[in-house]
């Protein structure tokens, strides 16, 4: 849905619609570039397991470490179960610091199970 929204927006502006992560950099607005990259890589975490091959291939097309780390951080927040593997890949101090907010809370990445019974009193 988000991806569709981005495409609608870009079409409305007359911008070329990126079809690969490498083409996101052609967009004129820096924030739209970041979101384009993030949304291109969102499917790598959306099945419940991390598609590391697709993720690393996509990240390789993002030249800038800061942009790359922002993508990884956003993915880690969107999919806390994958945060460990995603945050291992960040390079900048700013992203490492913000990743700690997710990694320091291991319950975020646990399976949601039925609660244990309360004490019987």
């Amino acid at each position: 849905m988000k991806r569709l929204l981005l495409l609608v927006v870009l079409s409305a502006c007359g911008e070329p619609t990126p079809t690969t992560i490498g083409e996101c950099g052609r967009l004129s607005d820096p924030a739209a570039v970041e979101t384009c990259r993030y949304e291109m890589l969102l499917p790598t975490v959306s099945t419940g397991r991390l598609d590391t091959e697709a993720l690393d291939a996509g990240l390789a097309e993002v030249g800038d470490d800061t942009s790359r780390d922002l993508v990884l951080l956003r993915l880690a927040i969107a999919a806390p179960k994958q945060a460990q593997a995603l945050c291992q890949r960040v390079r900048t101090d700013g992203a490492k610091e913000k990743c700690r907010q997710v990694l320091g809370r291991p319950h975020l990445g646990t399976e949601r199970r039925a609660p244990r019974p309360p004490p019987t009193r």
Partner: protein, 364 residues
């Protein structure tokens, strides 16, 4: 559709002068009010979410529960909304506002139970409440607290309200006695449900004050008033920390009433006040980090099932002094006539629990 227009304006307008990725990864302000303003300007939704969670935690640490509620209301429902209330709740508890923290735990969804433990056990001690007061005065203070807790947990589903009350009651009992320098048993004779919580506190304080002379029998002598209550100096919160165990309930104990104990564990409630005092005394001896496994061995064959099962749970979790503990556990776990005693000793054998260092909660 309402999200489309701002995005169009951003996407079709002039490029922003700053680097949004660099801005998003920049350090956040420490002040929660400034942080909330920062979150509102954050163009990336995911970063804005964690920004708000951080702001709610900071408001919690500052004791501002209303601001924390307002910030969490702007976090999308689901994992991060739950986490927002969890962070606010535990920070409020850490800042001495445990009851206000419980209001957040009630909204913490899947993390509600963790939140209750982190927050409820941080109920601060009220120095005006101590075992030198009449039992009626202590009971009245608890009733007032319990009413606030019930109100804070109103609407919390999934048994959280009952569990939160249990935890707060247990901490109240602990707070009245432990560290007070007094171990008069009067308040610990109050009826259920407060009595067992106070008995846990009584037994721990008696053990602490008896020091090297502490034993289950010595604590019970104070309980039965055949020995005078020990006295000593009141101590700070840090000195009230002790060894704690896990909330282990055997399959054979599921029908037995349990109450929370120091550090997140559970203990059975005795069938009578005297039996309960014995269980509390065993727990208190375990709380003393110097107590060896040997102390619990004589109680493994107690005729009262809840007493011997408590001893079985604790014996394998304390280092032995002169005992061949693995051999004893092996024997008990295969030959004891009580299935539940066998279960507890098997659990200890599996993990060699006695080899783990005595642990204290990081902060209570």
């Amino acid at each position: 559709m309402k999200r489309l227009l701002p995005l169009l304006l951003v996407a079709c307008g002039s490029p922003a002068p700053s680097d949004p990725a660099l801005d998003a990864l920049a350090p956040w302000p420490e002040d929660p009010h400034q942080l909330v303003e920062r979150c509102a300007r954050e163009p990336f939704e995911e970063v804005a979410i964690t920004c708000r969670v951080q702001a709610a935690a900071k408001f919690g640490a500052a004791g501002d529960t209303l601001a924390a509620h307002a910030v969490c209301a702007n976090v999308p429902t689901g994992t991060w909304r739950d986490e927002c209330h969890f962070r606010a709740g535990e920070e409020l508890g850490h800042a001495g506002h445990a009851v206000e923290g419980l209001e957040h735990c009630a909204k913490a969804g899947w993390f509600g139970r963790n939140c209750l433990t982190h927050t409820g056990w941080r109920l601060p001690r009220d120095p005006a409440l101590h075992p030198g007061l009449s039992a009626a005065r202590i009971a009245a203070a608890y009733e007032e607290l319990d009413q606030r807790v019930v109100a804070a947990l109103e609407g919390a589903g999934d048994g959280l309200d009952g569990e939160g009350r249990d935890i707060i009651r247990a901490r109240f009992g602990f707070n009245v006695y432990v560290g007070s320098g007094r171990a008069s048993p009067e308040a610990a004779r109050l009826p259920d449900p407060l009595g067992p919580a106070l008995r846990t506190g009584f037994a721990i304080e008696a053990a602490r004050l008896l020091g090297e002379d502490a034993s289950v029998e010595a604590i019970l002598a104070v309980w039965s008033e055949t020995a005078p209550p020990p006295e000593g100096s009141a101590v700070s919160d840090v000195a009230t920390l002790g060894r704690y165990s896990l909330p282990l309930v055997a399959p054979g104990e599921h029908g037995t009433p349990h109450i929370p104990v120091f550090g997140g564990g559970l203990r059975p409630v005795g069938a009578s006040p005297d039996e309960d005092a014995t269980i509390a005394a065993l727990e208190a001896m375990f709380w003393l980090e110097s107590t060896p496994a040997d102390t619990f061995v004589p109680w493994l064959d107690d005729p009262r099932p809840r007493v011997r099962r408590t001893a079985a749970r604790l014996v394998g979790r304390a280092p032995p002094r002169s005992l061949d503990l693995p051999a004893l556990l092996e024997q008990v776990s295969t030959t004891h006539t009580d299935d539940t005693v066998r279960w507890h000793t098997q659990q200890a054998l599996k993990s060699r629990a006695w080899e783990a260092p005595a642990r204290r909660p990081p902060s209570q």
